[in-house]
Each structure stands twice: as structure tokens, then as C-alpha cells.
């Protein structure tokens, strides 16, 4: 076509102008679209975090907003780290974390492995098994106190039915030795499906031809399981443990409904202790420091763990 430069310019100018009027530029759209979300995150996530850090260096108490606020430096931190009660709650949390993760990994993986036998109806069963983890932990936890009632509770009755130990002879929530296990059982019931679902995704990601090759090489089923199945599911399993670990470290709703930290302080997990300090004793500065310590702990552990996870993935 024999278009002169001027002709082309004449046609180009109005259309690009029109475009400017009709629609925003990509850059502007990007900013308009992202800004509200960023502002909300700043207001609800970042700003409170900074405020918590600030409060952790003071003796502020939220129930006395007019009292004089003093800077106390690192005193809150040193008091927490030298407090034997805090170490006791850490121990309770560690017990809870260790056993819930162990049970959920073992049961979750086994279930996934069984479901992966691809028998008829496995989809329906998977959906049914998953139900408990989608429900409100507080409402379900509250109901579990009924199941754990001595004499009338379904759990105690089932124990009596299968082992012969009288249902009224023990109280899961009232006994110092049994209470830590009562929360482990309820949490395992609720969250095993989570680990199962992730393991199932891992098992299904293993291509069939690997097993076919192993059959040709006459590797035994046992050997196939340990040298192929387990290593290939491991990254998935580790991811599940990461999520459950973080969630259970800050566990609140289920356990506060089940035992509320008792009897004594046998099931006093860190989050429940934090609630007592912050909203019952109203030691806002002290509990802010405690919150920061917990956050740094999880953050540190999770970072190390993610590094390990990435190494496993690369293999």
C-alpha cells in the first residue's frame, strides 16, 4: 500500500487517543486492581504485627487504657524465657504436636495407599472421609466433650464395648494422664483426612510405567514400595506435615472447647496460655512479647523445614 507517513500518523493518532479515553493503560489497571488488596493486607496483617512488636516492649494493659505506659525494654522477653510455666506449656504443645503428626502421617498415608488400590466407590469414600476436617473445630470440639462423658459418652461406651474397661471408671477430659490424649485423639480424627488427601495426590502423581519397569526388572513389591513409592510421596508427605505442624502449633479452637487447658495445666497449649495472659490477666505487653516469640519460633522452624523440603524435591 502506498501510504504516506502523514496518512499513517493521521489514522494512528485518533485510535490511540480513543483507546486512552475508552480504557485505562495496563499499568494503571495493574495499580487499580492491586491497591485495595494491599491496603487491606497492610491494615489487617502488617499494621497489627508492627503494633504487637511495639507493645511487647511496654507494660501496657488493655483493660487500663488510661494508665501510664512505660517502656520496659527487653524485660517481657527475659521474663517469658525464664518462666518455668511457659516451658511447661511448650512441653504440652510438643507432646500434642509430636503425637498428632505421628498418628496423622501413619493413618493418613495408610489410608491413601489403600484408596489408591482403585477399588470401586473409592471416590465416594474419599469424599465422606474428608468431611470432619471441613467442619467448625469449635462446634465439633464442643460436641466431643459429650462423646468423652464418662458413663453416657459414646467414646467411653465404645472403649467398654471393645476392652471391657467400665465406661464410668475413667474420664478422658478429667484425668491428668488421659486429657493430653483426649485432644490428640480428637485432632487426629479431625485432620487425618488432610494428610490422606495430600498423600493420595502424591501416590497418583507416580506414573505407572515406573512400576512396569520395576516388574520387568523383577524387583519385589516390598522393594518397589520402599525404593519408589515412599521417596516419590515423601515431598507431598512433608508438605502435609508442614501445614499440620503450623496449624497445630497455634491450635486453639478445638482444644479450648475440649479441655480449656485443664485439668491443671496438662493441656495448656501455647495459644490457650496466650489467651489467658492477653484476655484474662490483661497483661498486654507481656503477651505481645510472648506472641512475637511464638511467631519467630514457628517462622524459624518452618524456614528450616522448607529448605529441607526443597532438597528432597530436588532429588
Amino acid at each position: 500500500m502506498a501510504d504516506s507517513a502523514i496518512d499513517r500518523l493521521a489514522r494512528a493518532t485518533p485510535s490511540s487517543l480513543a483507546r486512552r479515553v475508552r480504557g485505562l493503560s495496563d499499568r494503571a489497571i495493574a495499580w487499580v486492581f492491586v491497591t485495595p488488596t494491599i491496603l487491606l493486607l497492610l491494615a489487617i496483617n502488617i499494621f497489627p504485627l508492627i503494633w504487637t512488636v511495639r507493645l511487647s516492649f511496654t507494660n501496657f494493659a488493655a483493660n487500663k487504657p488510661n494508665a501510664e505506659v512505660k517502656w520496659v525494654g527487653l524485660r517481657n522477653y527475659t521474663r517469658i524465657l525464664t518462666d518455668p510455666d511457659i516451658w511447661q506449656t511448650m512441653q504440652a504443645t510438643a507432646h500434642f504436636l509430636f503425637w498428632t503428626l505421628l498418628f496423622q502421617v501413619v493413618i493418613g498415608f495408610s489410608l491413601a495407599w489403600l484408596i489408591n488400590r482403585k477399588f470401586r466407590g473409592n471416590d465416594l469414600l474419599t469424599t465422606l472421609i474428608v468431611l470432619p476436617m471441613m467442619l467448625s473445630p469449635a462446634v465439633v470440639g464442643n460436641f466431643w466433650t459429650f462423646l468423652y462423658e464418662p458413663q453416657i459418652g459414646l467414646f467411653n461406651y465404645a472403649v467398654e464395648f471393645f476392652t471391657g474397661i467400665p465406661a464410668s471408671s475413667f474420664s478422658m477430659l478429667g484425668s491428668v494422664t488421659l486429657a493430653p490424649w483426649s485432644i490428640v485423639i480428637a485432632d487426629t480424627w479431625m485432620w487425618t483426612p488432610f494428610v490422606m488427601l495430600i498423600c493420595l495426590a502424591g501416590l497418583r502423581s507416580i506414573p505407572d510405567y515406573i512400576y512396569e519397569a520395576a516388574e520387568v526388572d523383577r524387583a519385589s513389591k516390598w522393594r518397589q514400595f520402599w525404593t519408589m513409592t515412599v521417596p516419590m510421596v515423601l515431598p507431598f508427605l512433608m508438605l502435609a506435615v508442614l501445614f499440620r505442624g503450623i496449624e497445630n502449633f497455634k491450635m486453639f479452637d478445638l482444644v479450648v472447647q475440649l479441655t480449656g487447658g485443664g485439668p491443671g495445666s496438662t493441656t495448656l497449649l501455647t495459644s490457650i496460655e496466650l489467651k489467658r495472659e492477653a484476655f484474662e490477666k490483661w497483661r498486654t505487653g507481656y503477651s505481645s512479647a510472648y506472641a512475637i516469640i511464638l511467631f519467630v519460633t514457628v517462622f524459624g522452624l518452618a524456614s528450616i523445614y522448607v529448605k529441607a523440603l526443597n532438597k528432597v524435591k530436588e532429588r
Partner: protein
Amino acid sequence: MSAWSVTEPSARSKGIAAVLVILYTVITLLPLVWIIATGFKTGPDSISYPPKVIFEPSLEGYVNLFTDRTRATPEQLAAMPPPENFVDEIVQRRGEVITQPSKFGERFLNSVIIGFGSTFLSIFLGTLAAYAFSRFRVPLKDDLLFFILSTRMMPPIAVAIPIFLMFRQLGLSDTHLGMILLYTGVNISLAVWLLKGFIDEIPREYEEAALIDGYTRLQAFRKVVLPQAATGIASTAIFCLIFAWNEYAFAFLLTSGTAQTAPPFIPTIFGVGGKDWPAVAAGATLFLLPVMIFTILLRKHLLRGITFGAVRK
């Protein structure tokens, strides 16, 4: 797969697996079945020993759930007109009178308002942000997943302290608006991340074709991207709704009256003398049932939602 495959489990191993999985399913569903069953028991039936599996169903639990009652004296009962409906009949048979409707309806409605409000806001803002993150060069893009994870590491109680102070300053304590904003703030990073995954899967060529046809970016976003992302948006919305619906810690600490949701309320249901388990179970059933239905609808995208998009399939 060929007709005969070495990787296909044998019929026997399938059978054993099926039996074991069915056994687990039955055990794991027992507490849920028990909640639903207890809701239809009478008070004495609910606390009988041994636990009653077969019982005469009653709506007593549901009546108690929705009403506040008090014990009536025999003279009062004798003076009352004969019961007009099943509600009066159930209450009178137990020698009680209804004083007022209970707070359950209100609390349930609060859960609905706050749940849907925050879900709508999360999805509206989240879809916009996710599109920008997916299609444009935006700063902080790579840190997003890490950011989501780290906001989830903070115990809710820890965040609740400054939020509590902030809401008190702004007059947002115990208001619907405050809770909607809070849950949106909690959910939005997850929503953006999940939606970005769904939008990433829509080929850019569709939009580019639309742009060449003379659509503006915004038109292409509205008429090409949004319809394509509809399934993803719907499942993300259900996730946000379930998280907001189930949330307990913030609701427990920051609401007490007008904006209290159902999870902190249900455990506080008491009868005329002590814990009224059929009423608690009835409330739990009404509260949990919608989530069960949503879970079944959502089953294909479940994994993606609960792992924050880390596992896709």
C-alpha cells in the same frame, strides 16, 4: 492401559483395601452421625446408658434450640390453653413455658451475613488483584506465597490483641462491618493466590485475540477472563465462606452481642438445668450441614484449597 497390566492391583488386594477403608469411614463418620441423631433425641434419651441407638425421634432439641424457657408451676400449666401446635405441646409436656425466642436465630444470621459479606469482598478484591498478579509485572509478585504462609503462622490470638485495640479505637468492636473487614483481611491472601492459579491456567491468547478485535483491557477482563475463571472463582468463594463460617478465635474474642457468630454461641447453649445436649446437637447439625454439602460440591478442588494452591491435582 492394556487389558492386562502389572500395575493394576489384584481383585483380592482391592477387596481387602475396600473393606479396611469402609471400616475407617464408618468409624470416622460415627461422631457426625451421633451429632445428627442426638439432635432428634429427648433429653433423657440423650444421656441414657448404654447410649441409645434406636430411639423415638423427637423435635424437642430443635424446639429448645430456638426458644428460651422457664419451669412453670402446676397452677400455671393448668391455666394455660390447650396447645395449638407441636411446639407448645412439646414444651408443655415437659412442664415449661416459652419466655422468648432464643438468640440462636440471630447468631446464625450473623454467621450468614459475616460469612457472605467477607466472601463477597474477598472474591471481588481478590479477583482483581489475582488478574493483575497473573498478567502484569507487579512488584512483590514472587513473595506472595511466602506472605500467605507467614500470615498463617501467627497465632490468631496474637493478632487479636492489636486488632482488639484498633477496633476499640475505630468503634468497630462487635460490629458486622468490623468482622467482615477482619475476615476479608484474613482470607484475601489465600483468595488471591488460589485465583491467580486459576487465571494462570487461562491461555493469554484468548485475551490477546479480544484486544485485537478492539476490546479494551477491561472489556477483555470482563467478557473473556471472568467467564473462563467462573469455576475457579466459585470454588475459591466456597473456601473463603467455609473459613469465615468456621472461624472461632476472633469471633470469640472480638464479638459478644450484636455481631456474635454461631461458633462461639453454640457451646453456650444451656437448658433449664445444665447442658442441653439435644439442643446443642440440633444447633451443631444446622450449622455443620451447609458445610458438608459444600464439601461434596467442592470435592474436585478440595486439595488445592486446603494446601493454599501448593498441590494442584
